[in-house]
């Protein structure tokens, strides 16, 4: 099993606008969201990026998905550089985050075909794949209903299917179960395990430790944009529950108790 995705010293800062400074009551003009972050993900595993709110998980995933560029550092996905070959990277990953929305005016069926075309998927392959994905997520029932009229769960399912139109080898999934009820959340996590069985690589970010314990082969814990712990689930747990181990790491980092 080789390394399929690698992050090397990724650093990302954001300039805070005057408005943002006011909202967050700070005079700092520049926020370092991610700092010298390195990790690698092996082919066929589920990797979890863990961390509290604002740790920099989403920012890291957005950089890997080429939606934003790192200030410094680089990353590779399946051999393609996220800085120099963003288009190649985009054709190899399926990226899912709440920031990516589907247009309200279209049906899941239309959007599936539309994104298939953008990915250059041949029509026959597209139809087979659509049948499979739509039945997995039970999209058939609402395939012809406009996205604007769908529930949160239905939208999430449609987004998932549409993120996978090109059968990517790497799936990057930000907060996969956010806003979903337990049943839909289970459909999604079962599907991620299914993907792993098919040999796909999955990267998820989450602040739900139980989810990571259930799903992930290896995890990285990010605190304030820096990698605080990295390894197999067992290594990072260190004989405790992931949550307890996280509190230890956190208080050590922050110099005090939680």
């Amino acid at each position: 099993m080789g390394v399929i995705l690698r992050a090397e010293n990724l650093t990302k800062t954001f300039k805070l606008s005057a408005k943002q400074q006011k909202i967050e009551k700070t005079n700092v003009k520049i926020r370092t969201a991610v700092k010298n972050l390195s990790f690698s993900v092996n082919e066929g595993e589920i990797f979890g990026l863990l961390g509290p709110n604002g740790a920099g998980k989403t920012t890291t995933l957005r950089m890997l998905a080429t939606l934003i560029k790192p200030d410094s550092g680089d990353g590779t996905v399946d051999g393609a550089s996220i800085v120099r070959e963003p288009e190649k990277v985009r054709s190899r990953i399926g990226f899912l985050t709440s920031e990516l929305k589907l247009e309200d005016f279209f049906t899941p069926n239309y959007l599936y075909d539309f994104f298939s075309e953008l990915h250059g998927v041949p029509a026959d392959v597209r139809n087979d794949r659509k049948k499979r994905l739509f039945s997995t997520f039970g999209i058939g029932e609402f395939a012809e209903v406009k996205v604007g009229e769908l529930s949160t769960g239905m939208k999430q399912k449609a987004s998932l299917a549409i993120a996978l139109v090109h059968d990517p080898s790497v799936i990057i999934f930000d907060e996969p179960t956010n806003g979903l009820d337990v049943i839909t959340a289970k459909v999604v996590t079962d599907f991620l395990e299914e993907l792993k069985k098919e040999g796909k690589t999955v990267i998820v970010s989450t602040h739900i430790f139980s989810l990571a314990e259930k799903l992930c082969d290896r995890v990285g814990i990010i605190i304030q944009g820096e990698m605080a712990a990295l390894g197999t689930l067992e290594q990072v747990q260190g004989g405790k529950s992931l949550e307890d181990s996280f509190f230890d790491i956190y208080s050590e980092r922050m110099g005090g108790s939680v």
Partner: protein, 393 residues
């Protein structure tokens, strides 16, 4: 992957036409509203011009000659002949603002004394007295009617010469000339306004709207080239904007006859040949491309549709200024002016509508506009690739 452009293009059109409210408000409504508005304006104008002839007005008169009474009744003025003893009663009636709108007192034997009067002898001319009530609209109207009647009566008595007093048509301008004048002063700026508002409606929605709703990000994580996304969007938006502009233009042209109802000459679009229309179409098409790229670029900087709307307003003022300055006088002859996008469009349209077509000018105009649109697409592509612009918080 040219197919990416086409995929985006199709999606944009479908997005637009599957949204009935939007399709109706941008394509059907502008033309319809202009048609209704102009027709309403047209009838309002002719209403003001025509005196309401059905309604009779009443006056009292003393010593009125029979011929005068006949003239009055032609104008719808009913005369109540009274004696000199009743003058005060009549004055009171006029002052009270009742049915009697005016009191006219002629000198005795008015016609005879007026005919005999000679200005050169210097005596006092016979005087007609009109008592009226300026606080009463009806009375005021009658007063001005009466003065008008008497003025023309007076000038007909002393008729030494006439001006254009025969059925000959003295205005030597042809219908074609009038059409050229009316169209070339009216239409270029109007077309610009129509096209701009069409572009505004769809451009803001498609760029700032997609940004606001987070759907453009979904597009940007696909391998689709940013330049293809930009071209596909611009192409589709230009077509919709053209339809919107065409709707407004049809609304205007079909109301012109009503608006120009008073004019003696027939103005008509039929004076222009097919090749004139083809040139016009080329100019308009290239103009729409420029306008839609400008609006798309401006919209890309906005975070919300509202914000975009406030950004495009100042741009609209600049565009309209270019339109207005291009409107005055004849089309410029220096080729330089045809290299300035938008301004050149107005100049070219003035040229076409006034039958002063210069192929060189139109070629330069279309070329300059296409180059400007190309630069615009390049800028838009860069903006789509800029995270600061696309993902600013």
């Amino acid at each position: 992957m040219k197919s990416t452009v086409f995929t985006i293009f199709k999606k944009e059109l479908k997005r637009f036409f599957s949204d009935k409210r939007m399709a109706v408000t941008t394509i059907l409504l502008p033309g319809l509203m202009i048609f209704v508005m102009y027709n309403f304006m047209g009838s309002a104008i002719s209403n003001i011009a025509n005196v309401d002839e059905n309604q009779s007005v009443y006056i009292s008169a003393v010593n009125i000659p029979e011929s005068m009474e006949a003239v009055f009744s032609q104008w719808g003025i009913e005369t109540d002949i009274i004696s000199e003893n009743d003058i005060q009663t009549a004055k009171d009636a006029v002052s009270a603002g009742g049915d009697i709108s005016a009191l006219v007192i002629f000198p005795e034997n008015f016609e005879k004394s007026a005919a005999e009067y000679d200005v050169s002898e210097g005596g006092k001319a016979p005087n007609i007295e009109i008592y009226y009530n300026s606080a009463d609209t009806a009375s005021l109207t009658v007063y001005s009617m009466l003065t008008e009647i008497f003025d023309s009566y007076e000038s007909s008595m002393a008729n030494k010469f006439d001006i254009n007093n025969s059925d000959t048509d003295y205005d030597l301008s042809s219908d074609r000339d009038i059409t050229a004048t009316v169209f070339s002063t009216l239409l270029p700026l109007l077309m610009l306004v129509f096209l701009y508002s069409g572009c505004m409606a769809v451009g803001i929605e498609s760029i700032a709207g997609e940004k606001e709703r987070g759907t453009i990000a979904t597009l940007l994580v696909t391998p689709a080239k940013r330049s293809h996304i930009a071209v596909g969007k611009i192409g589709a938006l230009a077509i919709i904007a053209l339809l919107s502009g065409a709707s407004s233009a049809i609304g205007t042209l079909s109301s012109l006859p009503k608006l120009m109802a008073g004019a003696a000459q027939e103005i008509s679009g039929s004076f222009y040949t097919a090749s004139d229309y083809i040139l016009l179409a080329l100019v308009i098409l290239s103009t729409v491309l420029v306008l839609i790229t400008i609006i798309s670029i401006v919209s890309a900087f906005a975070k919300t549709v509202k914000e975009a709307q406030s950004y495009v307003l100042p741009v609209m003022i600049i565009v309209m200024l270019a339109g207005i300055t291009g409107m005055f006088g004849e089309a410029k002859t220096e080729i330089f002016y045809y290299m300035i996008p938008i301004y050149n469009s107005v100049q070219s349209m003035v040229g076409i509508f006034s039958f002063n077509i210069s192929y060189a000018h139109i070629a330069v105009t279309v070329g300059a506009n296409i180059i400007a649109a190309g630069i615009g697409v390049f800028i838009l592509t860069r903006l789509f690739g800029s995270e600061r612009v696309m993902f600013s918080k």
